[in-house]
């Protein structure tokens, strides 16, 4: 019987009347890998911050290693061996790898002066612990996301971690990097360290976790060993809904119909070349490939964000000026970008403004001034149409959860009445409920005559929603598959083939 490392009992926390956590119990045992799952806004982040001492709960008790902490501070949590690796890793991009790993450790020992020699040794020691090789002098800002994460883990390890909490650690990682990470996690477990994995990614949770705790709306709804759960049960407890995943049935395309989008041997020097395909109204096709295959660059090129250096793009028979987003939009192409936070939304602005951002011209009255009544109506219509969860269309869009933010981006582009909708990794960081809704909506749009392209590395997403998938590798299309002939395994393998 393992010893409990930390016991949280009856934790409640509210912010301005909103109950983020209600009477949550959580016990983490030594050396276990537990997943804390829940939709965005469900209380996961708040619970982590309570564990880290960053938030003090309004009610409830925290017991670590048998000792009760009436008011846990971040420093106390660190002293007890609790380390949180946040989604942004909290690394300093302007400092070197060695400094990021070992400075906190030196501070722990109350040092006032930097011991550069010891710093390098300690940093190297941490790297060796997880068998990783990184340049100690490199500024962390120059490292890849996966490497930064490793730096964060090394930093945690140096500080005699007993509980490592990782917040959505796999969001920005490729499949290979996820495997490497999970290896590290299992090694840490062997050393007796407990790992609390916060995630909502179905497949990964099933792969790595031994125990599962699910939070919904601030309450713990279920807990138990991983083997007691299956996909349906997981989704049910996460969302409170039973979500069916059905396969998309493409329309039968009459042989003479013009494609709504025709891509003819396009390329950008150094990024991709010789890309050709056709998209018909009512079709949903997928483009997939590993990170670095050129798929994102292709997506941006189709929308005019990057100028193609060869080939042509035709919408409804007319060519689009390369490198002109304006021209692309004018011809009816809409693009929902990969990174909604930096490329798709004006975060401090209201939901309303974000919705009409691409169609301001339609919001003007006779004098050319914005018609507020029209704006209100349009905003309310879209909130209803896309089921955007918000008390008001005037709230800043950054107040919304990921899934709802994505709906706002979608609303913005659908307002332009596009003929072609390109969705780039549309459900990254989106809760399961919103994910299903976005997929259903994409199919509905296809059914109404739009051509939809889904660019994604989420294999189930591509297989369930697309009739055809184009596989990209190193800038070229290496295969076009009919999705009815493939399953998860087959597509994964095709992707990772040399």
């Amino acid at each position: 019987m393992r010893e409990p490392f930390i016991q949280l009992t009856g934790i409640s926390k509210s912010f301005a009347g909103v109950h983020a956590l209600q009477d949550v119990d959580l016990t983490i045992y030594g050396g276990e890998i537990r997943c804390l799952a829940g939709e965005n806004g469900g209380g996961k982040s708040t619970l982590i911050k309570v564990i880290s001492g960053f938030y003090t709960p309004d009610k409830g008790q925290i017991e670590i290693g048998g000792r009760v902490f009436p008011k846990l501070t971040p420093q106390q949590a660190i002293n007890e061996g609790i380390q949180i690796i946040y989604q942004d890793f909290s690394v300093f991009p302007n400092l070197t790898v060695a400094e990021n790993i070992a400075l906190s450790y030196q501070r722990l020992h109350q040092k006032k002066m930097v011991d550069w020699h010891a710093l390098k040794k300690d940093a190297q020691r941490a790297l060796d612990l997880i068998h990783i090789d990184l340049d100690l002098q490199a500024p962390v800002g120059a490292l890849s996301v996966a490497d930064r994460q490793l730096v964060a883990i090394c930093r945690a390890l140096l500080q005699d971690t007993k509980l490592l909490v990782m917040d959505e650690p796999t969001t920005a990682l490729t499949r290979k990097e996820v495997d490497a990470l999970f290896n590290v996690v299992r090694n840490l477990q062997k050393k007796g360290i407990s790992i609390l994995f916060v995630s909502h990614k179905l497949e990964e949770v099933f792969e790595i976790a031994e125990e599962l705790t699910i939070l919904r709306n601030g309450k713990k709804v279920i807990e138990g060993p991983m083997k007691d759960f299956d996909r349906q049960k997981f989704i049910f407890y996460m969302t409170g809904r039973t979500i069916e995943t059905t396969k998309f049935v493409p329309p039968v395309i009459p042989p003479s119909s013009e494609p709504v989008l025709k891509v003819d041997h396009i390329g950008i020097k150094g990024l991709f070349k010789d890309i050709s395909f056709e998209l018909h109204a009512g079709e949903v096709i997928g483009i997939t490939g590993l990170l670095g295959s050129g798929r994102s660059e292709l997506a941006r090129a189709l929308f005019g964000l990057e100028a193609i250096t060869s080939g042509k793009v035709y919408v409804g028979g007319e060519t689009i000026k390369p490198g002109s987003v304006r021209d692309a939009i004018a011809h009816g192409i809409a693009y929902v970008p990969e990174d909604r936070l930096t490329e798709g939304l004006f975060l401090p602005h209201s939901i309303s403004r974000n919705i009409y951002a691409a169609t301001i011209g339609k919001m003007l009255d006779r004098r050319g001034i914005i018609d507020n009544d029209k704006v209100r109506k349009v905003t309310d219509d879209w909130i209803r149409e896309l089921s955007i969860v918000t008390p008001s269309g005037q709230l800043p869009v950054q107040s919304l959860s990921g899934g709802n933010q994505q709906r706002v981006v979608l609303a913005k582009w659908l307002s332009t009445n596009p003929k072609v909708l390109i969705l780039n990794s549309p459900t990254v960081g989106v809760d399961i409920g919103s994910k299903a809704d976005i997929h259903a909506y994409a199919r509905k749009l296809a059914g109404e005559g739009m051509g939809v392209i889904i660019i994604s590395d989420d294999i189930p997403e591509v297989l369930d929603n697309c009739s055809r998938v184009l596989i990209m590798k190193k800038g070229l299309i290496v295969g076009t598959m009919d999705t009815s002939e493939m399953d998860n395994q087959a597509l994964s393998m095709k992707l990772s083939e040399a």
Binding site: N94, S104, Q106, K111, G267, K474
Partner: protein, 339 residues
């Protein structure tokens, strides 16, 4: 190795210093005399002390613009008091007094910035006007033309002098203050946890908070230090000029900050080196003092200095942009013709 050198901002600043020196020197060989070097070193003292102080602030993520006002307040109050009591003791006391005064004023900045979590730029813009306004309204603006004997004596003290063709160039003892400031700032930044904390806060404030750094303490330290150094700069200016004019130094904020930025101190925080700032200081000092040797009238000098700043910071900004936008090539392994 060469590539690494080329990427460093300091390399380009050094090139600029050399280029400017050559340009001026070819036009007027007087530039390359020891006289001129000593004159430049003397000219660099007051602004130099402030450059290294302000640099600490910028690295920590905050732009302090009140340092000239603090310098003036410190030097003027000190001079007035000395004049009033006909001070005749050791010169060390007025100097320390000025530094402490500066520290106190700086700590006011530090307290406001850390307690209300306001941007340093805004706060110091306000305090600059408050400090200076109060000074002039309470003490008037009459220059102190005759310094008390101890300060007068120090102003004549020299480290060494150079006998040139037509005149003597003196390197005043206040130069030690500049050297001292450089050494102290270097030491803090490179060898103390406090210094690394400053980089951390400037690099990512939230991460620094999460890592348990004493943000409040470090912030108060930074602005107190800037204040103290400004006090030192102010009193050095008075001693060097042998008179205390309270309208001096005001308005030099941007030039000093420009020197730091040209030297590679990233205005967004988190990056900056002492060596770089030395180069930036050299560039600005040469530009301000030696353009006259090229026959460029003082009125046009401002435009030329401005041009140097725009070009200089433009280059480093361009470099930073190129670093940030590097899209990794997807296709270098594909043989055959290009797309």
């Amino acid at each position: 190795m060469i590539k690494k050198l080329l990427r460093k901002n300091e390399f380009y600043v050094a090139l600029a210093v050399i280029a400017l020196s050559l340009l001026i020197g070819i036009r007027s060989p007087v530039f390359f005399t020891l006289n001129n070097l000593v004159d430049l070193l003397k000219a660099a003292v007051v602004s130099g002390i402030m450059v290294f102080a302000v640099m600490l602030g910028i690295i920590g993520g905050g732009i302090d613009v009140s340092f000239p006002a603090i310098a003036v307040c410190s030097m003027y109050i000190t001079s007035k008091i000395c004049e009033g009591v006909s001070y005749n003791g050791p010169v060390a006391f007025p100097i320390v007094f000025a530094v402490l005064l500066g520290a106190i004023l700086g700590s006011v900045n530090g307290l406001i910035i850390s307690s209300f979590k306001l941007p340093a730029f805004i706060v110091t813009l306000g305090t600059s006007n408050v400090f200076y306004g109060l000074l002039i309204s309470l003490l008037g603006a009459k220059p102190v033309n005759r310094l008390t004997p101890p300060m007068e004596a120090m102003s004549k003290a020299e480290i060494f002098h150079v006998q040139g063709e037509n005149y003597i160039s003196i390197l005043p003892v206040t130069f030690w203050f500049l050297l001292g400031t450089i050494i102290v700032v270097y030491f803090i930044l490179k060898h103390t946890m406090l210094g690394r904390g400053i980089y951390a806060i400037g690099g990512d404030r939230v991460s620094a908070e999460r890592a348990g750094y004493n943000i409040r303490g470090i912030t108060i330290f930074i602005y107190t230090f800037i204040g103290a150094a400004s006090g030192l700069a102010g009193i050095s200016h008075t001693i060097q000029a042998r008179t205390c004019v309270p309208t001096d130094l005001m308005g030099s904020e941007l030039l000093i900050i420009a020197a730091a930025v040209l030297g590679g101190t990233n205005i967004a925080g988190g990056k900056g080196t002492v060596f770089g700032s030395i180069l930036g200081l050299a560039l600005i000092t040469i530009a301000r003092n030696s353009l006259i040797l090229m026959g460029i009238p003082p009125t046009a000098q401002r435009a030329v200095v401005g041009l140097i700043i725009v070009v200089g910071t433009g280059i480093s900004a361009y470099q930073a942009m190129r670093e940030a936008n590097k899209t990794p090539k997807v296709m270098d392994e594909i043989p055959g013709e290009e797309a």
